[in-house]
Assembly symmetry: C2
Homo-oligomer: 350 residues x 2
C-alpha cells in the first residue's frame, strides 16, 4: 500500500457528476457560441498547456466538425515571446487553464484581445487572471481538483468545447442531450472498467515506454492518456496519430514496447485498424480501447467503452480507461498519482 | 561493423551542397511568394507526414515571423476522412512530400484546390501526383535520397519554407543571402561535429528513451531529431517544447532518461535555459546543442553549432548535430540507419 489517498482516482469517478454540473450552464455557452458565430471567424485559436493543450487538440475537431470552422492550437511563442505581428481581427481565441493562472496563456489572451480577437476564457476560477484578461469567461465547473494530475478538468474541457462548438453551429440541443447521455453511460461503465485495468496494470508494471495511438477526434485523447502515463507512472508514453506511427516510430517497436490504441466508431477507424495491424506485425503488445475495441484484431487486452450518442463525443468515453489504467499502474508501481515528483498543481513555467 | 553503406551519413554531409542547388531556384520562390502575398491569406495550411510534418512545424514560425501570417499544420483527417466543410478560399496550402506520393496529402491538396485555396506542392519529384494535384510546384532539389531515413529532404524543406516565407514578406534577398552563408558555415562545421558525436554515441548506446526539447523555430528541429533517433536507433525519443516538459513529463525523468536540448540565440532561449535547469534538478543527463549550447548550465555534453546569420534560419544548423548523432548511435548499436526495420522510402499508409 502506498501513501496515496487516491484523490486522482476519486476525481476520475466524479467526472459524470462534474459533466452534469457543467451542463447546467448551457445558456452561457449558447450566448457565447452565438457571439462567436456572428464574428464569422477565419480561425479559432486555442491555447493551453499540458492537459488543456490536449483538450485543445480535441477543439480542432469539435469546431471543424460542428460549425465547420478552422481551429488551431496556436503557437504561444510566436505572439508572446517573438512578438509576431499576426492579424487577430477575425479570430476567436479560447484560453484553457484549470487555475486560470498559466502566465503565458494569460499574456497571449491579453495580446489577442488588444489586437481585436473575441477572447474566451475556459477556467475553473472565474476570478483568475485569465478570466480577467478575456472578454468572456465560461465556467469549467470541474469543482476543486486536488490531484496534481488533472482528470475532471480535462474531461469538462472536452465537454465545454463540444458545447461551445455545438452552439456555434446552432446544434446545442443535440450536443447537450448527447452529453447528458454520456454522463449516464459513463457512470454505468466505470465500475467494470476499474476492475478490468487491474490485471493489465500488474502485467505492465515494468513497462518503460509506450505509444498511445489515436486519430481525428481521438488525437486529444491519445495526448491526454500519454500525459497521464508519463506524469503519474513515469512511463515514456508518446501520443501518435496512426499515420505518425507508420512514418517512423513503427521501427522502434518490440515485444517490450506496447501500444495503446483508441478505436472509436468514426471515419478514422480504418486508419486505426491498419495501424494496429502494423503494430501486431512488429510483435508489440496491443491494448485496444474505445467503443470499437472489439474491431482491433490481435489485441491482447481490450477495454471497450459504450458507443457515444454522437461520434464527436466519443473522447469523453474513450479517455476514461486510460485515466483508470494510469491510476492502477501508478498503484502497481508504488507511485502516488496525486503528487507526481517535481510537479505542482499550478505550473508557472514559461 | 554492420552492413550499412552509410548512405544516411553521406546524405547528411551533402546538405550544404543540396541547399546551394535549391538556392538556384530563387526566382520560382519569389514568383510564388508574390502570388501568395497577393492572396492576403487568412491562413497558410501546411500538410505532410513524418519529416515533412516536422518541417511544417518550422513553417508555422517562418510564416509567422517573416510575412506575419498565421500558418498551421492542418488536420488532414478533418478534410480527407471526415469531409469537414471548411472554408479554404482565403488560404494558401503547402503540401510537403519527398516523393510526392503520400496518398492523403495528395487527396488533401486536391480538395483544398477544389475549394479555392492557392495550392503549392513542395516535392523532389515535379512529375508526382502531388505536383499534379497542386496549382504550383516548387522544387526541393534535394537530389535522390536513397536512405529510408530522410535528412537532406527535411533540410531543404526548411530552406524552401524560409525562402517562400521570405519572398512573401519581400525579404528574399536577405533570406537567400542568409541561406548561402548557412551552407558555408555548415560545410565548415560538419567534420568537427562528426568527431564530437562518436563518444556521445558510445555512452548512449544503451539508452532506451530520451526527450528532445526545442521551442519556437526549433520545435520542428526537435521533432525531426526525435524522429531520427526513433526510426534509426529505436530510442523512444519524444519531442517536447520547454513548456510541455514542465507540464508533466518532467516527472518521468531520471538519470537513465537523458534530455537533448536545442538552445539557439533567439527569444525562446530563456525558456529553454529554464527547462534545462528543471532537467538538471531531476538528475537527468543533458546534451546541449545549438548555437547557444554554451549557455545551458550543467550540460554533460555540448554540441555547439555556428550562430545563424538570421535567427529564423537557426534550425538549418541546429538539426545537423542530431542527424550526425543518430548516425553514430545507430552504428554504436549495430543498426542500419539506411534501412530501418519495417519502413520503406515511400509510406503509403493512411
Amino acid at each position: 500500500m502506498n501513501a496515496s489517498k487516491r484523490i486522482f482516482l476519486a476525481e476520475v469517478r466524479e467526472q459524470p457528476t462534474s459533466l452534469l454540473t457543467l451542463l447546467e450552464h448551457v445558456g452561457a455557452f449558447v450566448e457565447v457560441g452565438r457571439a462567436c458565430a456572428e464574428r464569422k471567424p477565419a480561425t479559432v485559436r486555442l491555447v493551453g498547456h499540458g492537459s488543456s493543450d490536449a483538450a485543445a487538440s480535441y477543439g480542432v475537431y469539435a469546431f471543424g466538425l460542428l460549425p465547420g470552422w478552422t481551429a488551431l492550437r496556436d503557437s504561444i511563442s510566436l505572439s508572446v515571446y517573438y512578438g509576431a505581428e499576426l492579424d487577430f481581427s477575425s479570430s476567436v481565441v479560447i484560453g484553457l487553464s484549470q487555475s486560470g493562472r498559466t502566465p503565458d496563456v494569460v499574456s497571449y489572451v491579453e495580446r489577442a484581445r488588444e489586437r481585436g480577437a473575441l477572447t474566451v476564457a475556459l477556467t475553473n476560477d472565474p476570478a483568475s487572471a485569465l478570466a480577467q484578461a478575456a472578454e468572456v469567461t465560461l465556467p469549467l465547473e470541474a469543482g476543486e481538483e486536488r490531484s496534481v494530475a488533472a482528470s475532471k478538468t480535462f474531461f469538462n474541457e472536452l465537454a465545454a468545447l463540444a458545447l461551445l462548438a455545438g452552439a456555434a453551429a446552432g446544434r446545442e440541443d443535440e450536443i447537450w442531450d448527447g452529453l447528458r447521455r454520456v454522463a449516464v453511460l459513463l457512470g454505468d461503465a466505470i465500475p467494470e472498467l476499474e476492475a478490468t485495468v487491474v490485471p493489465l496494470a500488474t502485467t505492465f508494471a515494468y513497462v518503460g515506454r509506450m505509444y498511445v495511438i489515436g486519430r481525428g477526434v481521438e488525437l486529444g485523447t491519445a495526448r491526454e492518456i500519454a500525459l497521464k502515463l508519463t506524469e503519474t507512472c513515469r512511463v515514456a508514453a508518446e501520443p501518435l496519430t496512426s499515420t505518425d506511427l507508420a512514418h517512423g516510430p513503427i521501427a522502434a517497436l518490440d515485444s517490450m514496447f506496447p501500444v495503446w490504441t483508441i478505436a472509436s466508431h468514426d471515419e478514422c477507424l480504418p486508419a486505426l485498424i491498419d495501424a494496429a495491424a502494423r503494430v501486431r506485425g512488429a510483435g508489440a503488445t496491443i491494448v485496444a480501447s474505445g467503443s470499437a475495441a472489439a474491431e482491433v484484431e490481435g489485441a491482447e487486452w481490450r477495454l471497450p467503452v459504450p458507443k457515444a450518442p454522437l461520434a464527436v463525443l466519443s473522447p469523453l468515453l474513450s479517455v476514461v480507461p486510460g485515466q483508470l489504467f494510469a491510476a492502477a499502474l501508478a498503484e502497481a508501481k508504488g507511485l502516488d498519482p496525486d503528487r507526481p515528483e517535481r510537479l505542482t498543481k499550478v505550473t508557472l513555467a514559461q
